[in-house]
């Protein structure tokens, strides 16, 4: 595991390039929840639309600090990591080649291309990995979406900003895909706010992290699981991220219909475009708060805002705003 102070070093590196994203709250929601308060760290406003810009930029700048800035970069991704890498490479003037898997949101492909990198579609994760290996042999520098210390250190800067702005935070909730953000959040917490809890949130339909923790070893999928939360359709944790994810204070698993429910309510209450993979995180925070008897100040990481028209259409296919979180809150009591 990484030493705790990597977060501060990463923040120093990337701060001139990334957005210090705002933290929003909603008075009505807090009023409904009684003594608790929920805050939203809005990484949907981050460069390239997600927290992935942090890890990508930190990885490249850490190379530069070692005098090894890559001449060319290769990556594969479900979408947000590719945009993050493409943005970071363009910012630093490095050519990038990105492998995207068939089935990635067309919008995320478009966003990646807009940053001026080379985009190649592959039919499977296996094919992407093989082609990446060939590129690495030809001198490309490979940036893994999460299985890399500099990526984890980069993602940890999001929590640093949270503790800096809201020093009374008692718990942070983050989505778990490959585990990079959750790992980084746990890491920053050990250094900056040891008493705070860190929770992960997954769709029930993509609950490989929760099952891995229960079983005590990494369990994965052969092909991307079917959920509206496309940002966390990752196949599996790696040993590196599993080590952190095991130390989380818990993982909440969200039913598909509830992902739709919280997607509508985040759009309505927080007035932002959040990916379903982030809106579901509010569901996890809500579940936890129901069990808490002392007032909690919770931060939900809205990790990205890249939502395509088809996902919007599915989310809004019927009205889910007629049952308020307050009604759900009272029912649970």
């Amino acid at each position: 595991m990484l030493p705790f102070d990597v977060t501060v070093a990463a923040q120093k590196r990337i701060a001139p390039h990334i957005v210090r994203t705002p933290i929003f709250t909603n008075h009505l929601l807090n009023q409904w929840l009684g003594g608790h308060s929920i805050h939203f760290k809005c990484e949907n406003f981050q460069k390239a639309g997600s927290f992935k810009a942090r890890g990508a930029m930190n990885t490249l700048l850490a190379c530069r600090d070692r005098g090894e800035l890559p001449e060319k970069v290769v990556a594969f991704s479900l979408g947000n990591h590719s945009s993050g890498v493409a943005w970071a490479c363009r910012t630093l003037g490095i050519p990038a080649r990105i492998y995207l898997q068939q089935g990635v949101l067309p919008l995320k492909k478009q966003a990646t291309e807009n940053y001026g990198c080379e985009v190649i579609m592959t039919s499977s994760r296996q094919e992407a990995m093989q082609r990446v290996q060939e590129d690495v042999d030809k001198g490309y520098y490979f940036i893994h979406p999460y299985d890399h210390d500099d990526i984890i250190a980069g993602q940890s800067t999001c929590a640093l900003e949270i503790y800096d702005e809201l020093p009374n935070t008692t718990a942070i909730f983050a989505p778990i895909g490959g585990g990079g953000l959750a790992s980084g959040t746990w890491l920053a917490t050990q250094y900056l706010q040891k008493t705070a809890k860190v929770f992960g949130v997954e769709p029930v339909r993509a609950n490989d992290a929760a099952r891995s923790v229960r079983e005590g070893h990494v369990i994965g999928y052969d092909s991307p699981p079917d959920t509206i939360a496309d940002g966390v359709r990752t196949l599996a944790l790696t040993e590196r991220t599993f080590e952190y994810v095991q130390k989380l204070d818990g993982i909440f698993e969200i039913e598909e219909e509830d992902i739709y429910y919280w997607s509508q309510w985040v759009a309505h209450l927080v007035k932002i475009t959040a990916e379903p993979a982030c809106s579901m995180v509010l569901g996890g925070a809500f579940e936890w708060l129901k069990t808490q008897t002392t007032p909690q100040q919770v931060v939900v990481i809205i990790s990205g805002g890249n939502v395509d028209a088809d996902s919007h259409r599915k989310i809004w296919d019927k009205n889910r705003l007629d049952i308020t979180p307050l009604q759900r809150w009272l029912e649970a009591k």
Copy 2:
């Protein structure tokens, strides 16, 4: 017409209560538009979800400054004004009665009720006006949604914040419903940035302001016009707001399909929940910029973010993100 310095007085009054809303921009959009830049003043993050909080709060505080803080307040509205009044009244501890017309978004009714005021549904604008008159006779203080100097002065503070943060602004675009926001924006501009232009934007289907200016007198509707942009389904300007609206540098009229188009693109590029009545304003700015040969720094006022599930469903019924604003931009050249 009001003296120009009312804006500063209004800002001083309301600043402790309202949100100084952020101004966002999008690098990709600016890149597409060549030398121009577009900024979004995000009143969707304002108290009660729209700029209406400014006018309502200014009206009540102006009463208080005169030693005449009302004991009870009455208002009618399409939704956002009612929430603004309800919020301002709750903040100042004044009971409020709000008449909402049948057909108002259920969500806006819910929001108004959440602020703890009395909500009464009426079948028509005429009925609402009659019942308001009865209440005024009983001692209620009436806050009109736009036909009031303190409302216009309150709404003008939005432009004050824009010029303060972006002193190189060359044009502001605002939606026109009853004309309060457009009037206030024009007023603030005369005092703070006389060289800047102010444009109004309306749906083609609710273009009473544009037609009124063309005809030289106020033309209105008998019943709310049918458009997805529910926030500007106002029946007509009043003589008061018409006086300002006539002085605008132009009014853009947006086709219904284009309101859907820009709604998708604002959600996608700016990552915010914006009412269709505000997203369409980007369409107006886009039309104007196409005709400009020198670089412009434009601000689009995203006047509110209260969108119900049915409007979302209509907006996302099909993918409109496959044709980028860049493609439209190049086609026009």
